[in-house]
């Protein structure tokens, strides 16, 4: 019995064990997955990276817990990148269960900011990010299309006070921030049709740089907007988030997931290849006989 034949008769439980072991190993180990850097994600990263400290970016968190696995990593990566660069972040949650997501994100990021970290060779000291100074969470309001248009006049029109009940005027961050003219970029992280409203009612009417973070399935639908220039960059699914984390040199949730995904895919592909080699080798032997 030669090696190939032994492989051909391999019991599936060995495959399961191997796959499980690899997944666990990937989950708990610490290597980095090199990702290709697509220009769609690169555009967003480079834009945010080139902003001078003190500029304001806007992050719209428009997803529910069901698509959290894919979209949370994007929010984390962008916000942390922004805070490390001393940018200010204004964010909203226009989907019904969005506020919970946003709340969780800001707490986790605040925790992470309390540690000293080195990204791309630059060491950032630990610091406390303060509500109202470094970020402002506007909260949730229904009728997202109306809210998006109203914010073009002034953020205070739909959101007189922030999510925690403080009037916007009393927040130092919001002193000079009134509408889309005062923000540098708007990133919409979304799993649903709110993206369409940001494109047509937001970007279409008030003309600000708009970047999208989308679930893997939705990504293909929005490429036309990239070509027409309405959208400056797109992050697609876990892969997009991982690319962003890579560029920011800040491996997080997406890279964790990517490790498992990559190795699991590799294992499966490997098994397919072994199976085929075994199959062809076996056929050759048959012919000889």
């Amino acid at each position: 019995m030669n090696l190939f034949e032994r492989f051909m008769k391999l019991d599936r439980r060995w495959i399961y064990l191997f796959l499980m072991a690899v997944c666990l190993l990937a989950y708990y180990s610490d290597f980095t997955v090199p990702t290709i850097q697509e220009k769609e994600t690169g555009a967003i990263y480079n834009f945010i990276d080139s902003l001078p400290a003190g500029e304001v970016i806007f992050v719209a968190i428009d997803y529910d817990p069901s698509s959290q696995a894919e979209l949370h990593p994007m929010t984390y990566a962008i916000m942390e990148h922004a805070f490390r660069k001393n940018l200010k972040v204004v964010f909203t949650a226009l989907s019904q269960n969005g506020p919970g997501m946003a709340d969780q994100a800001i707490h986790d990021i605040a925790d992470s900011m309390r540690m000293e970290q080195t990204y791309n060779g630059v060491t950032f000291p630990e610091r406390e990010i303060v509500n109202g100074v470094d970020y402002c969470f506007l909260g949730y309001k229904p009728y997202y299309a109306l809210v998006i248009t109203a914010m073009g006049q002034d953020f205070r029109t739909p959101f007189p006070s922030d999510y925690y009940g403080t009037p916007l005027d009393s927040l130092p961050l919001m002193k000079n921030v009134h509408n889309y003219d005062d923000i540098s970029i708007l990133v919409d992280v979304s799993s649903g049709n709110i993206t369409d409203a940001w494109i047509s009612y937001g970007q279409g009417k008030f003309d600000f740089p708009l970047a999208l973070g989308l679930t893997g399935v939705m990504t293909a639908q929005y490429y036309p907007f990239l070509q027409s220039g309405q959208v400056m960059g797109i992050m697609g699914g876990l892969l997009g988030a991982a690319q962003y984390e890579d560029m920011a040199d800040n491996p997080g949730l997406a890279k964790d997931g990517m490790r498992v995904q990559l190795l699991a895919h590799m294992v499966i592909i490997l098994f397919i290849l072994i199976g085929n080699i075994g199959y062809f080798a076996g056929r050759k032997n048959l012919k000889k006989v």
């Binding site: 019995m1 034949e5 019991d11 997944c23 989950y27 696995a69 293909a220 876990l238 498992v260 895919h265």
Partner: protein, 242 residues
Amino acid sequence: MYKFAEHLFVGVSAGYFVIILWHNGLVTNLYGRLADGHIYFLWLDSAKWWYIFPAILGIMMFTRFSRKWSWVSRWPVALYIGIATGLSIPLEMANRVNRQLYAMMEPINWGGFIGNGWLDMGSGYSDIIIFVGTVSALIYFYFSKAHTGVFGSAAKLGIWTLMIGFGASFGFTVMARISLLINRIQFLDNNWKRNSFDFDNENFSAGYPVLFWLIILVFVIYAVSEFRKYLKNKGSAPVKSA
């Protein structure tokens, strides 16, 4: 142990659905409509007395237990199937045939025929491939004509398209399934940390981790025992040599 989990799962879930259907189905859809807060004699003078019919039909199902009357139990089944099939004819025609036919008639992007870069899905040739692929795959589904000649080659193109489509969606699903596994690993990881050791946590409940880990134990023991069985068989079974 796997058998234990399997049988427990079956029993518990069957009971669960009895309760859910009783409370959310029978009580709301039948009793709730009949009983609007009053007690009637046989509910014949209830506000929605006509809901007595489905109840009678439902009871007819039980005539199956009698040999003599079991033919009556076919009535509710006939009604059930009649309503279901009647409902589906125009609905499936509209959603699966008419709408898809409408979607097939798309203008071809002649201007960007070559497209933009490598394999652009907005390009003209992609539009043509979609159309030709759909047509040939439909030809593959012909039953009353032998797949020979030109017709046969069209059908062959059709089955190729189908196979590429199947392969692609299989490959795509791999990612989703592994995501489930990742979720599971993360969940177990968090639970381990939170529920097994963190006794100060306010969410900690004594019953939860025990039951939970019992189930995990079941699966681990099952896996180990299966492996042992496998290894034993491997030793005893005659190994064919090449």
